[in-house]
Amino acid sequence: MLSRIKRNINVFSVISVIAALLIVIPMLNILLEVLSPPSAAWVHIRENLLNAYIRNTLLLIGFVAVFSALLGLFSAYVVSRFEFRGRNLLSWMLILPLAMPSYIAAYIYADMFSYTGTIARFMRSANIPLRVNMMNLSGAIFIFTMTLFPYVYMMSRSALSSQSASFSENARLLGANRFRVLSRVVLPLLRPALVAGTLLVVLETLNDYGVVAYYNVRVFSFAIFNAWFSLGDTTAAIRLSGVLMLIVFAIIFIERAIRGKRQYSMHVKGKPVEPKKLRGISAFIVPATLWLIMALAFFIPLAQLFYYASLTFSDVINANFIFLIINSLTLAITATAITVFVALMLANYNRGTKNRFKKGLLKVTNLGYAIPGAVIAIAVMLFVHGIDRTLYPVYRLFNPDTGRLVISSTLIMLTFAFVLRFMAIGYNSIEASYDKVGEKFTEASYSLRAGKLRTLLTVDVPMIKHGLISAAIIVFIDVIKELPLTLILRPTNYNTLASEVFRYAREEMLQESAVPALVLIGVATFAIYYLTHYNKKGVAANVREN
């Protein structure tokens, strides 16, 4: 037993176990805190507000899930099954709304529909008596749908383009018309992709704070911030976090239970379905609909931002702005490097494993993405405060005048929270690359007496470098535009592009927020362009390497 454990101790296992402990302890901490005696504020929330929070949250995620699924599925189906002008361009552009942080779209749309906004003025001048108020639940549903549907689009498009034509052909030979083929075969086979994409949309919606705070939609993340900052009640915030985590796990559990023992994929060799050329009126209407979606989700808010930037860039671009960019880049690069490094260690530790302990460890470390930012922020803060309290006597040995909170007042806390939240994203990309390459090259290296570290650096990393770059870029985009964690955990007076956009919008200085917002969108757009065009080469390179 002891020798078996000893055999399994190596650089990958040690880092993986430490990472898992650092992730699981703050979460357990939250669960334990839920058991502490309720505060007066919690009693007030439970009796007067909790039902509304639950109702609003369920309404928000329910509608956003349905609309995103419909929009994502429609666009994925059209792009992968039909041939039309502009199809190649749209096939990657439909991912671009992900570059538009939801909170920025929310500020812009609220402004455009406000009394003095572009759209409201146009309506009045055209004598159209239509008044749209974005600052409510419906407005939030629209914003989340438009900025998050690409998750469903990406997953569904990938599944549709790899779906074998044999299934549809077989169904047709068994007498099914086109509608029945679609409803009974094509769509059910898409279910895992559709569910995975929609789940990402739901998790991102639950994670958001920027949109709901600005639109005053009283959902859980709003309530957690409110309990923490307005009521100053940590235990109430923790209890709300506990309820929110229960909702997240219930959603995941219900999906698994409904799926049962059914499977949605089988290895079938057939060719993928050939796209059909659109003819007649549909050759115009279908692409026009996709361009309209793109306009609403990306181009219209972008145009408005450019207009505002043209009015304010001379006031906004100064030394302070350069520091904002440096802060954001430093933070994003550091968090990305640590996340990808730990994800690489975890992926190595888990390669081809059937060991239950390792699988459990992996599930724990990948849990962060399912847990909303506000909850992670509280968990990390409690954890790091605990460490500071424990280490206080040590701090005093070095500096007798030291304050109690040392680590808590540094960027370590925020970086740690980013690593915890985005670990799953980095890991999944690396794992997919390892799956594609297989284990034979690594085993060949071991058989030639190369050690684990040498094999990693000289064999594995070069072979999965495309996956590593993808992982780094995706984590980088997520970190740089992240809001809730940044707002709660950044050190005092430490501002990033995202926090500055939020501050400007809060202070009704929307025009001034345009330049930092455009920098964020520009970085993310460039990264998406690079990934969508680079990934094709990556796939080709991997095929050649095999």
Binding site: R172, N177, Q263, H267
Partner: protein, 223 residues
Amino acid sequence: MYVRIESIDFGYTKKQTVLKDISFSMVEGEIVAILGSSGSGKSTLLRLLSGLEIPARGKIEINEETLCSADTFVECEKRHVGMVFQDYALFPHMDVYKNIAFGIRKYPKAQKRQRVMEMLDLINMEEKIHAYPHELSGGQQQRIALARALAPSPDILLLDEPFSNLDADLKMRIRHELRTIMKKSGMTSIFVTHDYDDAKDIADRIVYLENGRIAYEENVRHQ
């Protein structure tokens, strides 16, 4: 003649010729094997018969109905052709019952169930009625695919490399079983293979395909 194929030409592009001047006929209940190496066009011939591809020229008649000619093309879902794909293409999200019942949805419920049970009886797999495809072995999947194709009582059954997914041992055992099932159902059948032993053990007649043309025919059994 029950099946009549006359002067079929086909290519995926205008310049390329996959099949050239293919003609042969079959009597009712006959089992014909199309034998050829890979790339000889044998699977394409099945796709033309099933209506999944449209020939550049030629005529196809089954059971006195013209399915394809210069001025006629019957869509695949209206052809009454059953097909077993190389990978079986069983719908992974449906259990065995739903897979077999897929092609007979217009039957009344009781009759549908009866027909599914008949098919399961034919392939001797009644106990697997509620299993999902991933819970079945390769040989069992093949039999379910066969039952699914036979359930709507098609005019003709087409099988595309039915043994390519099975290991050698299983293949030997199943060959005989497949011929028994096909003969018991009385179905006119065409199957394509690249293995002479498969063709010899199952078919009444073998049609040799080379470079998209029929090279010659051989009677294996006298009807």
